[in-house]
Symmetry: C2
Subunit: 460 residues, 2 copies
């Protein structure tokens, strides 16, 4: 693709499409059959998603999704269905022309907001719809979303963000200034992303269900694949955690990065005490030491672990920009782990990146699951071209699962970097056979597993 | 009912019942046809609930509910259905014998927690189930829930609370100490509640949709009914708000209490500026000045309004004990407005009352809607008998709507106090005809309104 800033269009030049229908599907993979994805709080995840397709009369369509763990996917699906009337029969211009206004209509529907607001099921549903709209927008402009974002004028990009509740932390004017200042050398950074990609780290060496031998084998595999940063799960048993940290350090040495993830298992004081026992393993961060809602708790943990140079990371289950704002205002985290399928989709995530820039917090996105790698690579690449403009201690999580289900899967190059997506849109389209096989409960694989007794059909 | 502490039983003496089925219904009233309940963010509420009945083989049953605003009730209903397998086929002893453990199983189901956790749709669903279990427990012991709570031994009461994520603010030992210390004169306070009830305030004089004449008429009506505290909605137009405050003060005088409610309409700095314009109206509190998730924002507002002696109140949409904990730790609110149908039902609310006692915060519960008055009166009466042991600047919101739908409605006496409930349970049983008429979408009233075009049936 030729690299030229002439690819930046204004809203007016976009072709205006007529949205016809919003389809939503419950897709689940039986990942609980292995121990893949298991952690201290989520012991048997079936990686799943609510998959949204926004169709237009002109034939172009957008796909978006939100990630789930199996049970409950039907609940988010129903929430998507209850919102689709806000999207159907609209023109794309009426949405992208004032995307922040549309985003607020979707997330603040006067009756639905009571069962949120802006959190949990309804916000996950909004995220799936919003992500589909960005996929569609990318296709309309013929750009992958990271390029769409990187080539937008600052004013247009900022016009997509609802600043409600965050103006005490960042104003639209400040956001525009950040994006305007980063125009210097942006083209060079875009070229760098295209040629080198964006660094990844792996979580795949230390799920809680893995044996020592599995951990060693996986460390060697990912070292050979060029990875220099590794994350393991902790929190069920302190002696085991010490043993596992030691084991991984023996395999990866001391120049590579090591992080640990507690998945919210501890209370605040327990987190501090537990992590003191792991201080000798040169840990870059402890992830989700306690409740994802506890700003002040994370602040206390951050302060207590500062002397051991262990940072605090959280964000994959942070429910919205208001929580992220406070985490940053309170210096309660050092690594911000936005999740591309949570909070209210791309528009809200953009505001988090901009706040992170202002508060000088490193964004290292959560990924894995279903489609998270595919989506978040776009956002993090935009962060490099247009927001933080640095990769210093920044990297994207990578888990090698479910990618084969996507038409344009996330790809890792020989230097363990995400390759820059070059297809139009948000890399969110599932292969047709994935849907045929894994739609719940009628997909062919589920029918087979119900029949042979591998799974019992959800029944209520 | 004779007043004797011999009514306090231990778990062991409870009759053990066998839970058979958990039924859940979507019940909606067409309140949007008036302007009742309208505020700055919720312009057209149809007061609704998910109504849960827990049946036992022995015939006793418990009812519980969570309040909703119309659309979305079906989503919460589906969440209840997805959880009911955790309750059905259990004995009551297996639940009440370690209620905290059961509560955690319900709120931390390993796949469902991803779409929360402990917030939004899934937590509302958990609340409806938990509230039904307390109704059933009250019936088993033959006590209204406020008496059940007041007569429990401290250890048993504290055993119902999951302290995960709050031990940095309050420990089980501290909670037991609070409840043990309050045994002195508790019987006298129980008698006082029985004879005098608990003070109410009214929100019914100033919904945003009301005209000046309506406001004046209602002020006079509620003054005559003995009310001494009044709350009005603000936030859509500053000049109107000034006018309405003035109007209400002219009607109620300066010795009665006046509060204002912004329903989350403002950003942090706007809240401060707006409220400065209302400083002359001797306002006890401003309620929900900004996002219910913004602890640090409320702290800033509290500090800015202190010089005007305007307190900050919030809590009706506070999603769980972790947020409440931070609001208290940060001194971000002066009035804690717990909602009996939100957070994870009674068990979690008990922990909020205990933290409020420790942090010296006044609890003035949110009520109105459907069943909120009925339920929360029990909790606030227990607060008086067993926790704060004072009514100083404490009162329960009262809105005179939907009470007629209940078998044991909340009652206000001639001194504008809630009368102590004396029926066993949690006052949560709907009349059969309410269900027949208002179950959505098949109730007779909905069918009539669909047929005559008053409402369009939800269709997706």
């Amino acid at each position: 693709m030729p690299v030229t800033s002439a690819m930046a269009h204004s809203v007016q030049t976009d072709k205006c499409l007529n949205i016809t229908t919003v389809e939503a599907k419950d897709i689940r993979w039986p990942t609980s059959l292995g121990a893949h994805g298991s952690d201290a709080m989520h012991t048997d995840p079936d990686y799943s998603c609510v998959y949204v397709t926004i169709n237009t009369a002109e034939g172009l369509y957008g796909n978006g999704l939100t990630f789930t763990l199996g049970r409950g996917t039907d609940i988010v699906l129903l929430a998507v269905k209850s919102m689709k009337g806000l999207v159907e029969k609209r023109t794309t211009a009426s949405i992208y022309g004032d995307f922040a206004k549309f985003w607020r209509e979707l997330t603040s529907e006067s009756q639905l907001r009571w069962i949120g607001p802006e959190k949990g099921v309804t916000h996950l549903a909004a995220a799936a719809i919003i992500n589909a709209l960005w996929d569609l927008w990318g296709k309309i402009r013929g750009l992958p979303v990271w390029r769409l974002l990187s080539e937008m004028e600052p004013e247009e990009l900022v016009s997509t963000i609802d600043f409600r509740y965050i103006t005490d932390a960042i104003t639209p004017e400040e956001a525009i200034r950040i994006l305007t200042d980063s125009k210097i050398n942006r083209q060079a950074r875009i070229n760098e992303i295209i040629h080198k990609g964006y660094p990844a780290y792996t979580t795949q060496v230390g799920w809680l269900g893995y044996s020592d031998v599995q951990i060693q084998t996986l460390c060697r595999k990912y070292l050979e694949a060029g990875f220099t940063a590794f994350k393991i799960k902790v929190g069920q048993n302190l002696d085991n955690d010490i043993k596992r940290c030691k084991l991984v350090r023996e395999e990866i040495g001391w120049n590579n990065k090591l992080m640990v993830d507690a998945n919210q298992i501890w209370d605040v004081n327990t987190a501090i005490e537990w992590m003191k026992h792991l201080k000798d393993y040169k840990l870059l961060w402890v992830e989700e030491p306690t409740s994802p809602d506890d700003v002040l708790g994370h602040k206390k943990i951050s302060e207590a672990l500062r002397e051991y140079q262990i940072g605090v990371a959280t964000g994959e289950m942070c429910c919205n920009r208001v929580l992220f704002k406070q985490f940053m205002q309170a210096k309660a985290l050092q690594f911000c782990q936005i999740d591309s399928a949570r909070i209210g989709g791309v528009n809200e995530i953009l505001s988090v990146y901009l706040m992170a820039k202002k508060f000088n917090i490193k964004v290292c996105p959560h990924a894995g699951g279903v489609g998270l790698c595919e989506m978040v690579q776009h956002l993090q690449m935009w962060d490099y071209t247009s927001v933080s403009c640095t990769m210093d201690e920044r990297m994207i999580e990578f888990v090698d699962q479910q990618h084969e289900q996507f038409v344009n899967p996330a790809l890792i190059n020989a230097a363990a970097c995400y390759e820059a997506p070059n297809s139009s849109g948000y890399s969110t389209e599932l292969k047709q056979e994935a849907i045929v096989m894994f739609e719940y409960p009628n997909g062919s694989e589920w029918q087979r597993m119900f029949a042979d007794g591998t799974f019992k059909k959800q029944d209520y």
